[in-house]
Symmetry: C2
Amino acid sequence: MEPSLVELKSRLAEISDLARAEAILHWDMEVWMPPSGTSARAMQMATLESILHEKRIDERIGELLDELLPYAASLSADSDDACLVRTVRRDWERARRVPTELAAEHMQTAAGAYEAWVKAREESRFETFRPWLERMLDLRLRYVECFAPYDDPYDVLLEDFEPGTSTSEVREIFGALEPELASLANAHATDDEDEFMRGPFPIPAQDALSRELIERFGVTWDSFRLDTVVHPFETTFGLGDVRLTTRYSENDLLSLFTAMHECGHGLYERGVSPTLDRTPLCTGASAALHESQSRLWENVIGRSLPFWRWFYPRLQETFPGPLGGVSLERFHRAVNRARRSLIRVDADETTYGLHIILRFELEQELVSGRLAVKDLPEAWNARIEELIGLSVPSDQVGVLQDTHWSTGGFGYFPTYLIGSVLSVQIWETLRGAIPEVDDQIERGDFVEIHGWLREHIYALGRKFTPAETVERVVGGPVDPQPYLSYLREKLETLATT
Amino acid sequence: MEPSLVELKSRLAEISDLARAEAILHWDMEVWMPPSGTSARAMQMATLESILHEKRIDERIGELLDELLPYAASLSADSDDACLVRTVRRDWERARRVPTELAAEHMQTAAGAYEAWVKAREESRFETFRPWLERMLDLRLRYVECFAPYDDPYDVLLEDFEPGTSTSEVREIFGALEPELASLANAHATDDEDEFMRGPFPIPAQDALSRELIERFGVTWDSFRLDTVVHPFETTFGLGDVRLTTRYSENDLLSLFTAMHECGHGLYERGVSPTLDRTPLCTGASAALHESQSRLWENVIGRSLPFWRWFYPRLQETFPGPLGGVSLERFHRAVNRARRSLIRVDADETTYGLHIILRFELEQELVSGRLAVKDLPEAWNARIEELIGLSVPSDQVGVLQDTHWSTGGFGYFPTYLIGSVLSVQIWETLRGAIPEVDDQIERGDFVEIHGWLREHIYALGRKFTPAETVERVVGGPVDPQPYLSYLREKLETLATT
């Protein structure tokens, strides 16, 4: 191997090890850490981040990339090494705009802000979180300034999650979605809830079913864990070490959808080609591609009729009390019906998009300075009223419901909706390749689906840009129309059965 | 503050953060990591160790220590800063003897060796572990050579756990103990076991009792966790984040003693003065001092008659099946009687010492090259026969029972027995200061005991050498006689009641 490539890969491996160590500290913080551990953990994470950032921006990486130009040019553009050199150059040029002190301060503040958010949410008291959110926003604005000049400050934030996608492109996609989603919600959304969906569903049984489900999807316990947290997420410590998290409530079955969602993220990470291990390509192509997989398994598969034809008998047998007298059709309608809801993660597929659009708009206002943090709850509540038609009784089920802002994750929310849009585009492509897919799902057989996704998406990791990856998989750009047709068809079918 | 001291403390804080991050990775590896995570984790730990070691041996630390000589000389020798400068100089001079590559290779190999040990123990197959143990021993011998010339290669290993204590001093202490322990075992040890000690004791109830007990000792769940592992240990991630681990079997009550043991370690770490946080003084003075605390809570308190006067009714009420008809006196005798046992962690206080002496001897033979790893099982079995009078039916309950060698921890075992010896010396001092201590224990009141230990031992952290710490607490050196008297009196009392 080229000596410069050997040295570059050794540096990248070290960076990957440190990034994963940081992820382990973060996972432990959210899953197990006792409350008084926060301040020590915040400093540990800041120290790690500071070392990691220094390594990421090392001048030597730039020199090695320069030395590798002729070699990279001699390779096929699709080869692992050509993709590596290309991607590392982009990452390196971007990272070196950011001072190490800012990266470390972000990490340290985020640990405190996360703790404050957990407390504020419990208390339903925005004021507990406000000063921390102000600090996190300020840190993000300082980060944005590292990339001046820019067209739109929000572009800078989006770029970390969705490289190459501009705010105006997202606005355009969401602009096409919003009126259609609103009109579908107006036509179909109800306020009432099916009584049988409130359980009780004993938690140990939900846990067992969650595990059973995701095992069928492809999870193996030699390489995965599933643990309980306040705000579920997925994180990866190695190709053989994927951590899913979930949460349980006796009064709903959301945990099944959460497990399928996080499982989708986990299968993506687990399926990256081992040749990319310990490089920055060993992860998903972008947040939206990642969400396309979580939402594909959670919704496109996990709320489909074939799926419940397979799994509903197991569910009914597990929870005969609430579900014994409920037909498959009623249950399938219950997990798909459009409902006005205050909580994003409880939302059906139609109103979900409206929740995302709300956050996307508020984030842009915060980042542009048009909205002050102190006025955020009021703005939130007004917008929920407009978009969803509900009044918000408390900040707990309003502005405090999501964890993302506590860790400074402005720019992430839009990727959920782009991911949903992509999930349907990808599904239609997969359906073309595996015409008997419904029969397979109805038998609880996900082997071919998982294999197709692994081959066409997961194995690529982050070799290509999100746009290139989407183009390779679905043969075109992000397109909201298939998603809208999917929703329309689903809601119309439900209304007539 | 002196500018050199500010810089030194900032470097030490970074080192402390990284060491704790490494501890988090290690804890996760033993408590939660799925099996396929090992190879990635080994590399992450090696990368962290390599960065940590480079920071520990940085020339700049030596310069700062030189600059601080006049300042340190102006301070009281007992002050935090004087102790810091003294201890950091010793640590730094020692660490820089060791090449970073060796430190990283040790860390990486240990992760694989630990996994191999777990597997070998399950299979009861020494051959699975042998090549790994050979590698770990070889790494330790390379480490020892970094400190040449030395009087005894074992001194080098001991120094990491018991700074300032030589192998010959340990030999002398153990030489005084061995004939007395053997004679006590000969006079009192039986082979039979009380049937009621075999349970069944349902595990959830053992867990609840373990938690109840250690809460009484001083554990608060805002700062502690208790989790389950193969080989219990304690580790600390911050003054407010102490992790205890334990294990359960339905067929014995060892978990209660394990919980008290690890709790002793945890209270020590939790009790270090906050002024020492993020410095290398923020931990126990040595492994033996640490073991003096684990064994004090586990044995001196946890196997005493006053303790069981308080706690036996709770135990009886929890496990009425096996214990309903068993008197306090019979139970107290059962948890204290000398028994010939193959397993160190199951051993009573008398034969425990013989188990340690065996390991101390075998370790010296391995390190001096007088014994080859391949001949270890045979040597183990022969020595158990001599010392304990039992023949070893399988390596699982023989040479494979302990985890220590898998991570290269040669030199640790002797600290258990020195710790036991110290625990009684410390207890007698405490008893002099709190004459009503038995009454307090009988009421389940450990506040004053914990307070005294915290003030006289825990708060000091690692400010003083082990010998200085022992001198400060008990007013003299390590002395095996009080421990022998304690055992003799206990066994004679049990024999006559």
